[in-house]
Symmetry: C2
Amino acid sequence: MSRRITVQKFGGSSVANTDRINNVAERIISYLKKGEEIVVVVSAMGDTTDELIELAKKINPHPLEREIDMLISTGEQISSALLAMALHKRGYEAISFTGLQVGIITDGSHTRAKIIKINTRRIREELKKGKIVIVAGFQGVNRKKDITTLGRGGSDLTAIALAYALDAKICEIYTDVNGIYTADPRIVPEAKKLKSITYDEILEMASLGAQVMQARSIEVAKKFNVPIHVRSSFSNEEGTMIVSKTKRLEEAVITGVTLSKNEAKITIRDVPDRPGIAAKIFGKISDEGINVDMIVQNVSKIGTTDLSFTIANSDLSKAIKLAREVSKDINAGEVSADEDIARVSVVGVGMRTYPGIAAGVFKALAEKKINIEMISTSDISISCIVKKNLGEEAVRIIHKKFKLHKINS
Amino acid sequence: MSRRITVQKFGGSSVANTDRINNVAERIISYLKKGEEIVVVVSAMGDTTDELIELAKKINPHPLEREIDMLISTGEQISSALLAMALHKRGYEAISFTGLQVGIITDGSHTRAKIIKINTRRIREELKKGKIVIVAGFQGVNRKKDITTLGRGGSDLTAIALAYALDAKICEIYTDVNGIYTADPRIVPEAKKLKSITYDEILEMASLGAQVMQARSIEVAKKFNVPIHVRSSFSNEEGTMIVSKTKRLEEAVITGVTLSKNEAKITIRDVPDRPGIAAKIFGKISDEGINVDMIVQNVSKIGTTDLSFTIANSDLSKAIKLAREVSKDINAGEVSADEDIARVSVVGVGMRTYPGIAAGVFKALAEKKINIEMISTSDISISCIVKKNLGEEAVRIIHKKFKLHKINS
């Protein structure tokens, strides 16, 4: 009788208005199977959270985070209650809970709390009574019963943590896409939906711009080996399973190609080539909370190098200012910035055991006269920086080169 | 050092938008006195509660009351958090709590719960730290931690119950009127604000149409002898104290004249004059949840009487139908209805020991040729039913007759 619980999570766009809440109720009912128990996690309706934060900022531009959590946690409470009502209307027993009521205990870091433990007693009680249990996502409570929230993507985290705590057979993440594709179908029309993908691959893809789920949630799922099914809340199609190991006999070498246009490149010329210089530069930048992504060093003259690195576009002006200060400090040369770049990445756990992928990528791009400005690799991914206007073409070329439209995932 | 706590309650119109929430923050600060501790109770912003209920009814015309409470309790949570932010902005320490967090324990009657007890530990802790404590009004939690709400006027009840539990020196109810007047100033321009009024008087006035506070809240205040100060949230003027006994040496005979236009009269003719008939008629009507107010019986023919009673306008069609059924059952005559009535009432604890007030009221109305259709009295009130279009004049006549504009309350 174990593992008969399914956790289903519906995001903000799936419950954006009363019609959609009704749809979600229909959806939940249509998946009900005999003997199966359902726990539903919901986000706030549409833009509710942002609207509440805007309201707060009108009163106080720097509100205390404890009070922000008190305020914005109401969004999920509202959608939970409404979904319960929609299920009652259809003759199904359901009961909604806040994070506090359901015993989601977190640390005290308001607006970005970490879940410490979940007391599943009340949920199990209500499931035993045959009820569909609805839990307000994104929120918990610290030891003093102050309401906390889990940060961006927090409802996914609630669902995954509940699936783990309840030993659920699956955690279904309902979203506005049908699943995870070998590439963005708007760029590559023949892109294919993957039947399954590993935590490691999706983590690479998440950090590389495929915004399906927050990396943090997937890391937790990976840690506790919670199987995830990403699927659409608007269609009945099967989506994509996220698991620790795919069931393929032979791993697909590459499972996806991603594109990010939100990065900028900074170059510092004539950096003295001596130990500790990189630490000095990147220490200063990370101290300001700026995340550096790719780093490439080229020898330019004897004794000096040119240093390029990429950062998020939004950090550019701050990062240039810092780079200029450091450059002066260390007697380096001119600092230049380039926003006209795109990052194309190929991801696949099969790369670990299949050599020559990088060469294949470079060759495919070269054949089409696409110049690669920077390269970085991990054991399951290769990323190339190209001119921004060539990014989409590069994705299509690589997708075709590795025959991803024929992938059997 | 006891009795240094003040409880202040701000209603929905006082916190209807961010500007008004800022005003409330300023108001709280302006009343802060050295060594004094403040607990603030807030209602939901403006029409939030009604809007949430409307949203619910779109999904389910008959939502479960547990889920209604889950839904609408968010309104007060939002205004509490925003008020805390407004106080922080002004450099004051404040902390907001839901009913659950603050330990307002109720019975399980959702949407009309009764407060059983309040655990004041957390409030006292935060007061000791010098914080202004803000409590979401209108809500509590049952033994299972399900959120409950207290029904109409519930935030007043929260404030009064907290004032009692904390042994506060006063419970200030901030509202959109300056206090309680001898009559509605829109009807009687020379009406005078009362400095004080007794629980009993305000209870009569509340049930007679002066909608300052819900009778239920005042009954609790009376029971636990919690002094109330009703005052405006938009001016600094002193309002009206509601207490068990006024400090006047000589009671004013009458403290107020009220008018209600929301009643209708039903008359059943030729009711057989035998025991048990009234019980039959009013039993049937009260079984349907209709509140009967005044009842008058006149002998018409030998052996039968004409029976008239008043009810709320909104119950009229239902009540007529019931009255016709009963009339048939008991072999009575025609049933007629009259909506063209107004109820004028005079209230005053002084009446208890001052005879002849009723006669004075009747005489004053008779002098102005206003016909009285029905009369009912209690030991501190006299009510007369007159033609609707004469109601306001009747109020002015009585106000003048008893020189209420010169009252020294």
